[in-house]
Symmetry: C2
Subunit: 211 residues, 2 copies
């Protein structure tokens, strides 16, 4: 999403609209900062500890960008503040570095990306729903560029755990979801109305990962 | 430097060697993270406050990379710790976000980059020398890709202040240097021996900005 300004601005406008009547916290992805880290990793063969730390700081960076383009939003390093802001009409954008680098609740691994970090936060907050905004319609049986890739409407974390193909979500997510009751929606950010449908409990094109 | 692994590794090895007998603190540049921020700025027209903050966090990011590839180095958010480490044979790599974002000693502007931040830190520490490692030989009368650009061996901060051409150093540096006694060396990182010459007080190809 990070490369297409209009798409990202549309998503942010939708989040701002949804915040008027819904409680949620935005956990940023890594944007183009994640690409730079992957690139440095290729050149310098970074340790997983360093790349993990850089990745989390990259989420703060991208969060600052989101805060600038999301109307009525507030960026914060405090999860508690984010929770309080979520009860207002403002959009809380949670910068995860302080929480994730101080306590290190998740392992240092490339398998742990912003998907798993968002899942960890939703579990910690006992949120009923986790929405992962992607640039594809959801989870497919294989990477969606293959012609025989089949879109999956619903699956369980246990089924996702058994996947031997890469999907649009990180490898650690299924493990986290298998240990918690949160419903995880994987949705295409190109269609912000689908995000709204998830909030409203309506049907739309997305993948639901649920027990 | 950030795009050429071997060059960067050579510089870092030289710093590690120099730390055995010299006291200094490494202040990272922004590496490829700075390019991403400039790119986002073009797409989303970031406020100078946000781009400045992202830039400083990018220095932390790049500092983590430097710490990984510099033998016997320690990355720290504390300037005091960096000072203590500089007295040992280890290389202190100072991550500037905490210092620069808490107290905001420099203005929020694209004119303030890691050059000015390094100068601010050297002034604060009363360091006699500031060495800016670049991918060109030093300061030229105009951008060095012009054929009639002339290399400058030495100039004063006041002369640099009057420049109406962009140079390889940021626009705020001259102002900071004009208010302090620090000698600033601008040197090409492709030739790490030139860095060693500066430490030894020997002649080499570099630009000296001094009163």
């Amino acid at each position: 999403m990070a490369e297409e300004p209009e798409l990202l601005i549309n998503i942010c406008a939708k989040l701002s609209f949804l915040a008027e009547k819904n409680q949620f916290i935005v956990v940023p992805g890594g944007g183009m900062f994640a690409d730079v880290i992957r690139d440095y990793d290729k050149r310098f063969n970074l340790s997983s500890k360093v790349s993990h730390r850089m990745g989390i700081i990259g989420m703060d960076q991208f969060g600052l960008l989101l805060a600038q383009i999301t109307p009525n939003s507030i960026a914060t390093l405090s999860l508690n503040d984010a929770k309080q802001i979520s009860k207002t009409e403002a959009v809380p954008i949670f910068l995860p570095s302080r929480l994730m680098l101080r306590n290190k609740p998740l392992e240092n691994s490339w398998d742990v990306t912003s998907d798993s970090i968002a899942a960890y936060i939703s579990i910690r907050l006992k949120a009923p729903k986790l929405v992962l905004i992607k640039d594809v319609d959801g989870v497919f049986t294989k990477e969606p560029e293959y012609e025989d890739a089949v879109f999956i409407e619903q699956l369980s974390p246990e089924e996702l755990l058994k996947f031997d193909q890469a999907t649009c979500v990180d490898m650690f997510l299924a493990k986290l979801l298998s240990e918690s009751p949160v419903d995880c929606y994987v949705v295409n950010g190109k269609y912000p109305d689908r995000i709204e449908a998830i909030f409203a409990g309506q049907k739309a094109t997305y993948t639901l990962i649920s027990k």
